[in-house]
Symmetry: C2
Amino acid sequence: MTATPSVETALPLVSERLHHAVARRLAMAIVGGELPAGHVFPAEVEHAERLGVSRSVLREAFRVLTSKGMVSSRPKAGTRVNARKSWNLLDPDVLAWQIQCGASDEFLRDLFELRLVVEPQAAEMAALRRDERQLTDMANALETMERCTLATDKGRAADIRFHELVLEATRNELMQALSTSISTAIASTTAIKSRVQDSPRDPMPEHHALYRCIAEGNAKQARKAMVALIDLAHSDTRVALRR
Amino acid sequence: MTATPSVETALPLVSERLHHAVARRLAMAIVGGELPAGHVFPAEVEHAERLGVSRSVLREAFRVLTSKGMVSSRPKAGTRVNARKSWNLLDPDVLAWQIQCGASDEFLRDLFELRLVVEPQAAEMAALRRDERQLTDMANALETMERCTLATDKGRAADIRFHELVLEATRNELMQALSTSISTAIASTTAIKSRVQDSPRDPMPEHHALYRCIAEGNAKQARKAMVALIDLAHSDTRVALRR
DNA sequence: AAGAAAAAATTATACGATATATGATCTGAG
DNA sequence: CTCAGATCATATATCGTATAATTTTTTCTT
């Protein structure tokens, strides 16, 4: 009996491919404002040798950026940077590039606002549709958070996992699709908070309160608990940013 | 003086590229369940000549699918279909492919649920942050809807534009990023409704009510009005589906 | 002079052949 | 049983050339 290959999870590539590295490099220049909307890239041949890669690699990189709405290319007209408006900002890659490039205050505000729109409602739905397995998963995640604390990678991962589980419990695929984006948001803001030394308020009581509401099927309270949780994270982040 | 090139809007390509056609074809086979999660594609060379395209084109097509989380490819292991869980379901292309491939009842339910999560909150935010220009845009969209009715393409486009404007009025980029996805959802469900002959209830009163709430800055009422609007669309769609 | 049609220039797109690097699988030693 | 190394199929990367699409320019017609 061989170990069953995991079809469930798509493992990330261990080594990044060249075309992806090029795509990321171009994307960072775009989100960083170095290449503003409307910017036309040099002709393919010339651009490729300037970057020191083959044309095929450059083309594949552009293909990735095109599929995320960041650029568009047409014969004769060339390849140009699209207006920010048409980017797929919720795409996990775009979101990650954006944050790595230094998220602005407005962007962080938008992120928390999105969380306040999505997660409280998700908590409400989770309370109505939960099942045993997901509840134990949530409990385990909380236990790990408690044991490792948010100062450790494991603890932070458990925090993110907990929020993912709430979105999963909605049993709505589209809500679950938001989970990657929201996880990215949590990871980045947690990183900001951990930069300042003095530890922020312990968020475990709020997490446990939320869990209890979901476990008891108390939808309205679950919503309120999630709002409280996000507000706490928001204010902690703002405090951390001010230093 | 030449006409200023529009940087604002990224015009869609007039003629679809080969790689995009291939990507769409593969994507349809995937979302249609013909190629289930875990399916491994034949070796690149072989697969390319089977489809009658060059390997470059096939590679670029896979690059698009990879960037949307639908497949992942590694040397030696080949290219395989990812679990649905890791697809970027909110990506406009993925959503469109999904719908073109015949959306299931559960999927439509998820779509309306997403709208109920996002749009009422957006209406609330819009009421608080609106400006004159957006209000006149909304009024114009409603006027067009009234004049052309939902039976025409123009009328349907105006309906979608109205909902986009509400999301724009939130002044939150991430919420605006959801607008393409939601527009796709509206377009597809409106198409379903228009398939049955007897016209559904006229939704214009609800639209005007929503507009008034936003114009007056009445956030709580705007939320309620949006909920009413979506509920109406939902029940009309369900009725249409039952025939 | 004005407008339409044709030609040219420019660019992305498409193709196929070749070389490289990667990682899954097998093999053997410990 | 475990782990290090060899192997080999496969994706990855590069190159040269040919094609198609679209804007710009020119030419022709009116």
